[in-house]
């Protein structure tokens, strides 16, 4: 048995002798930034906090969010359905009025099909929304896209109602 293999086995076995190497713990990302209840269309009143008057920009963003922050798709499709056109228009209006703001489009799929294909499909969905925003005047520099494929479902479950909630593009604005 070669030394390298022995070493591997010793390390992987967390052997009794010697302190084992720690696994790589990747620093926590700001998961809170992801989708929350506040972004699912009907906005929660963040205005409850007394004395915190919204700036004009924040109000405009709230306005766009009220129209909706998630676009849903049919199975294995990336076409934007007519009912979501108002959401695109609302965010285009906001971004056009605030050219220094950037939106991040996060593409997702349901769990069916292979994972890397779904990464491609989520990207295709995010790109469809990106193009629609750009057609309404939003600049390329204001938009980033990322595809999570099926890796970050909105809800767990293997039925059509779960699938429908997971096939989506989310509009995410960071501070």
């Amino acid at each position: 048995m070669r030394i390298t293999q022995l070493l591997l086995i010793v390390v992987s076995g967390l052997a009794l002798a010697g302190c084992p190497k720690k696994p790589t713990t990747i620093a926590e990302g700001q998961t809170q930034e992801g989708p929350t209840g506040a972004e699912t269309g009907t906005s929660l009143d963040s205005g409850d906090v007394s004395g915190s008057a919204l700036s004009a920009e924040e109000a405009a963003l709230e306005e766009a969010r009220r129209v909706g922050t998630i676009i849903y798709f049919d199975y294995d499709r990336a076409e934007i359905k007519p009912e979501y056109v108002p959401i695109i228009a609302a965010h285009a209006k906001y971004l056009n009025g605030n050219p220094n703001r950037r939106v991040r489009l996060e593409g997702h799929t349901d769990e069916r099909g292979s994972r890397e294909y779904n990464i491609g499909l989520g990207e295709r969905r995010a790109q469809a929304v990106r193009r629609a925003l750009m057609l309404q005047g939003v600049t390329e520099a204001q938009i980033t896209t990322v595809s999570y494929g099926e890796e970050r479902p909105a809800v767990l479950g293997s039925d059509e109602s779960a699938y429908a909630k997971n096939r989506r593009v989310e509009f995410v604005y960071s501070r």
Binding site: L8, C19, R112, E116, G120, V146
Partner: protein, 446 residues
């Protein structure tokens, strides 16, 4: 002093964590071979004082049983326990209907080392088929036992044993949006689990380097996808692709110098590329506006297989590395064939195949193009060949949870590896370990 106490405590904590993790994968044989070969693996003799540090025979019997090709005799039915060939009374073992018998001994072999000597006999003829002496340090005794199983398996089937290999996979715990993703490496029998990387953002697509020393994988830790290569022994980690858009589906070339991968660049066109790891030079391998992804190398390194939806649904295509413009379609049966992996002999692909509404693992014979569905799940995915080509490991669902399963290439033997919590997915079977020639010696006359 304080420092060393502190270190001991930290070690203890880590070991505790490791022990907890270790108990996670439970293997259940769901379908075995009817004509499995009956074999007796007699408990090995211990040639020292106290108790033996490991039960070699138990590990060997479990390995052979899991292969589905062998039916080890229950220990309770053994009326005698020979530890050397000359002690075997063959008529007794014939009476117990064992076709073959393994006997052996374990002994100290210097400080912190043990050796085992074992022999394999044909019970019907009394012929000695092989005998070996193996030696290992205390930390690698399980590996030594797996090596015994490898030798017995190869002697009796003509197929190299894959019991000394490992599997990498992704485990996910928690509910959205708070999930924890881990990249884990375990021995092929589910033991010795080690967490390689852990993140609150997705980890996916682990791929073993051909030398088994490193794993390439996709991590979203920077809120966008990037491909990392991590050396297992040292934990050293290198980001090899973090271009705009998708960085996905890494696959090592057989010589280990290049990665095939998927990029979408800025324009969002998802295509397959080859990245030279030393020079960072990128070469585009697919040119269709559709989704081209999931590359896999032919064993000779001359071709890539990949999935493309250029004809509507996902299908497998092949391309010569030298002529990336000329992709040829490989799969025609069924509306969905994706995630190709090439068998070690290069003669067939394992794919995800849509079979009457269910995603299942199938093989595609590259000469005849014949498709053979091997599994019965609804959501089977991510097939990966054992390095001996005899078995596939894949991900499936069991009562709403992601579990791993294996199926023999003829579909006859199946088993499930269930984790005690969370979902497990995306298994990748390691290559063979380097030949342990130096420490193995064949013993006795043939």
């Amino acid at each position: 002093m304080i420092k060393s106490v502190y270190r001991a405590v930290v070690c203890a904590l880590l070991v505790l964590v490791a022990t907890d993790v270790r108990a996670q994968l439970v293997i259940e044989i769901t379908r075995g071979q009817e004509d499995a070969i009956p074999i007796a693996i007699v408990p090995f003799g211990w040639e020292s004082t106290g108790t033996a540090p490991i039960d070699v025979a138990e590990i060997v019997a479990a390995d052979l049983q899991r292969s589905g090709r062998f039916a080890p005799l229950d220990r309770k039915d053994m009326i005698e326990r020979p530890t050397r060939g000359e002690q075997i009374r063959f008529q007794d073992w014939r009476y117990l209907r064992s076709d073959f018998i393994v006997v052996g001994r374990l002994m100290p072999d210097g400080p912190d080392r043990y050796a085992t000597e074992f022999e394999l006999y044909n019970v019907l003829t009394g012929q000695r088929l092989t005998g070996h002496r193996l030696s290992a340090s205390t930390g690698s005794l399980r590996a030594m036992a797996h090596r015994v199983a490898d030798i017995v398996f190869e002697q009796l089937t003509g197929i190299r044993g894959a019991f000394s290999t490992r599997i990498a996979f992704i485990s996910v715990e928690g509910t959205p949006p708070q999930q924890r993703y881990k990249l884990i490496v375990a021995d092929a029998d589910g033991e010795n689990q080690q967490v390689i990387a852990s993140s609150s953002e997705p980890l996916m697509s682990p791929a073993w380097s051909p030398d088994g020393q490193s794993i390439a994988y996709v991590s979203f830790e920077d809120k966008t996808s990037a491909i990392y290569v991590q050396t297992l022994r040292t934990g050293e980690r290198r980001r090899v692709s973090a271009r705009a858009g998708i960085n996905g589906a890494p696959a090592w070339s057989p010589d280990g110098r290049k990665l095939a991968l998927t990029l979408s660049r800025k324009d969002g066109d998802v295509d397959v590329y080859i990245l030279d790891l030393a020079t960072q030079v990128l070469t585009r391998m697919s040119f269709d506006p559709g989704i081209d992804t999931e590359p896999a190398w032919s064993p000779d390194g001359r071709k890539l297989y990949f999935m493309s939806d250029r004809a509507g649904g996902p299908q497998i295509y092949e391309v010569d590395i030298d002529q990336p413009n000329r992709a040829r379609r490989v799969t025609f049966e069924g509306s969905y064939n994706a995630r190709p992996r090439v068998s070690p002999d290069g003669k067939q692909l394992a794919v995800v195949h849509l079979d009457r509404g269910n995603f299942r693992i199938a093989t595609v014979d590259l000469a005849t193009k014949a498709v053979r569905v091997l599994t019965q799940g609804r959501q089977d995915e991510s097939p990966s060949f054992a390095p001996n080509g005899a078995t596939l490991i894949y991900a499936t669902q069991d009562r709403g949870r992601g579990v791993l399963a294996t199926v023999s290439i003829d579909g006859r033997v199946q088993q499930k590896l269930t984790a005690s919590s969370g979902d497990v997915r995306e298994p990748a079977w390691s290559p063979f370990p380097p030949e342990p020639a130096a420490r193995t010696a064949r013993t006795g006359a043939e």
